[in-house]
Symmetry: C2
Subunit: 189 residues, 2 copies
């Protein structure tokens, strides 16, 4: 059956959002086209009316995730880091940071998908730099170091089953970042 033009656009968005959640949760390869369509409340047949291929969906879903997560929530650096390095973010892969969820998988995807991811990376670095403030010539260094620590800690915490060790990694990295980003860290206290 045909649906209205608006309904079709809404369906397309639902497909993209189901896909982006599933891809983050299970990785690109482990998610089937039929599974995405089912999660969007449709059947597999209509898929190729919306996308050229699964690879096309992957590329568009990556772009969609980053477009949706632009801006970020309220609060300054501390709130941002607290949320990023929280057990809630650790457990909420499907709705969490696309970088932490997909970094490893993206290597094996098409150039289009990798390009979309690269854009997301750049805007994340800028976002971290902005949150850190601009207190010196090494602001980019502090942004990149902070970002790498954040992503590393979340990825590692997610790989670890022992909740105590996972929490320790998040908390210690949080404190370690605080040490590293303190602007006057080389001055006497």
């Amino acid at each position: 059956m045909k649906v209205s033009r608006d309904q079709m656009q809404a369906n397309r968005v639902r497909i993209l959002e189901s896909a982006s959640r599933l891809f983050r949760e299970k990785g690109f390869e482990a998610v089937s086209v039929a599974e995405v369509m089912k999660a969007a409340g449709l059947t597999h047949g209509g898929f190729y009316g919306h996308f050229e291929s699964k690879d096309d969906l992957i590329a568009q879903a990556v772009a969609h995730i980053f477009a949706a997560s632009e801006g970020g929530g309220p609060g300054g650096l501390a709130a941002y880091l607290d949320a990023y390095l929280s057990p809630e973010h650790r457990d909420g892969v499907g709705a969490g940071c696309p970088t932490a969820a997909l970094v490893s998988d993206i290597r094996r995807q098409t150039p289009a998908a990798r390009a979309a991811m690269a854009e997301g990376f750049k805007s994340q670095i800028d976002h971290v730099a902005a949150a850190l403030g601009d207190t010196g010539g090494d602001s980019r260094r502090r942004a990149i170091g902070t970002w790498a620590s954040m992503v590393g800690a979340v990825v590692l915490a997610r790989a670890i089953e022992d909740p105590g060790l996972a929490k320790e990694i998040l908390d210690e990295t949080r404190a370690w970042i605080d040490d590293g980003t303190r602007p006057n860290k080389n001055a006497p206290r």
Copy 2:
């Protein structure tokens, strides 16, 4: 055809080593049993004489990788970090750090594989702690923060196509770690 007992053990080791390289390069799911056997110079049929299943191979391969990478090379902390955050390590996924290569994939594997990985994690943290020396009560914090940064930087650098940006991430993270691990970082210079 049958082979000698020694030959069979050698074959088993070759399978494990082919598997561990391929898994790091392409991820667990993207590597087929036949591909592993071919890389080991055998055909797919003999596989189940060595392992119960592909999941069994994965678990044993993970354990094998960490067992093989025990100890680490010569040199102190600086040499270790330089090597870890080098373009060579970035490009040598198949022979590089199993943690950086497999963190994301391990979440979707069997308990046996995850347990083997967890052991590797713990020994890596201890290894970093030892390399850092033991200069204070926050030595574990510094080890975990350093480790998360290292893994994060390599995983991100591998996901990025632009060699310039990838190199920048490795180098800036290297410098950032130096800042963060300087024991007297809060003392006047």
